[in-house]
């Protein structure tokens, strides 16, 4: 019985060691990990656009200001 558990323990130890080597050999290299981190940040983060009404409001405001400035300009001449 004892022999069997020692045998199992030895198999476990061997397997752990093989799996550790397997994990290390397939791990992501540090340089690649750093490149991925830097590369991702070259993309432009998504910016949420303001709601549609905001564009209408901005257009109206711009129109109104242009009109007002034109009126003041004429008023100044006369």
């Amino acid at each position: 019985m004892k022999k069997s558990s020692e045998h199992d323990g030895s198999i476990d130890a061997q397997l752990n060691s093989l799996l550790t080597v397997w994990a290390q050999s397939n791990a992501l290299p540090e340089a690649r990990a750093d490149a991925i981190q830097r590369g991702a940040k070259l993309e432009v983060p998504r910016v949420d656009l303001p709601p549609k009404w905001w564009f209408g409001f901005a257009r109206n405001l711009t129109g109104a200001l242009t009109e007002a400035s034109r009126s003041w300009s004429y008023a100044g001449r006369s």
């Binding site: 397997l15 550790t20 050999s25 397939n26 690649r32 981190q37 590369g39 991702a40 983060p45």
Partner: protein, 179 residues
């Protein structure tokens, strides 16, 4: 590199990346099984994380990994859709095998054993391979893996034990008649 316990908003992405990339990579590798392809999928995943970094800041810290793994899952599916069927097994062996110093016979034996381990892991069904990869490569315990894979911790422990048993049998560490 030391990983801060909490991430402030100015360095959120870097902090989250350093904290989680190994686990995300292990999760992807468990499914894709190719180092280069896994790195590509990891990159696509974190590009999306960066694009949605504002959403990330609104997620509680203990849920951020699950959110990222959700993106990784979608990216892995996309990878399978895009993938042209090809066999890169040999190529990966050449890149990733650990070199044994000295004795050429020992070196050859190490390569053969590692190839056998690799083949045994590839032969596992994903339900066993992914928990094993998260454990061995991601360094997670069964409770953490259970949270990621949304299955009981006891099931994860059984799956890891079963995966180990199959690998042992495959590479001749354990007698196939043992059950």
């Amino acid at each position: 590199m030391t990983i801060p316990q909490r991430c402030d908003s100015s360095s959120l992405f870097d902090c989250v990346y350093q904290r989680h990339y190994r686990v995300v990579y292990a999760y992807i590798f468990g499914q894709v099984q190719e180092a280069d392809a896994s790195a590509d999928v990891l990159q696509d995943t974190f590009v999306r994380v960066w694009r949605h970094v504002n959403d990330l800041s609104a997620i509680p810290q203990d849920r951020q990994l699950y959110w990222i793994l959700g993106i990784a899952r979608n990216q892995t599916r996309d990878y399978y859709r895009r993938r042209v069927v090809r066999n890169r097994v040999e190529q990966n062996y050449n890149v990733s095998l650990v070199q044994a110093a000295g004795d050429p016979h020992e070196e050859l034996q190490t390569k053969e054993t590692q190839s056998a381990v690799d083949a045994a892991i590839r032969a596992l069904p994903p339900s066993l391979r992914v928990p094993l990869t998260l454990s061995v490569m991601g360094g997670l315990n069964s409770k953490e893996i259970a949270g990621i894979l949304e299955r009981p911790a006891g099931t994860v422990r059984y799956q890891i034990a079963e995966a180990r048993k199959r690998i042992s049998r495959h590479i001749g560490l354990q007698d196939g008649s043992e059950e």
